[in-house]
Symmetry: C2
Subunit: 77 residues, 2 copies
């Protein structure tokens, strides 16, 4: 089981990506943690370490994927 982290900020783009995209991952292989950076600013530094520049973003096996564009990380600080 691999762990994936979905970073978002509750924006409309984030919500649609979470519903459609994160929900399509194989649940037998991926356990997805959903982190709302607007509500949990303590995780911002962690997101930056993963190279997250904007949300929504999905980190899987150390690789960071930016999916569409909701908000820049710098706007969440």
């Amino acid at each position: 089981m691999s762990k994936a982290i979905f970073f978002h900020a509750g924006c409309p783009v984030c919500v649609s990506v979470e519903a459609q995209f994160v929900g399509a991952l194989d649940p037998s292989r991926y356990q997805v943690e959903v982190v709302h950076l607007g509500q949990d600013a303590s995780r911002l530094a962690e997101a930056e370490r993963y190279g997250v520049k904007s949300v929504p973003a999905l980190v899987m096996d150390g690789q960071t994927f930016h999916i569409n564009f909701g908000a820049a990380l710098s706007d969440l600080k």
Copy 2:
């Protein structure tokens, strides 16, 4: 079973997204067609109809997701 289409152009970003991301979709729910727009320009119009602006992009259930950035669609024409 839903059908998803992954549009790419063989770029390094495309290859990593295909390997990591498309490979993580639940195979019991999604059948993924992989379309190389550099090799099959006849599918460009279809990609545009789905709102694809750049590759790699994944179309699922009529929604289009741009994942990172490899190349603009206009550069493939």
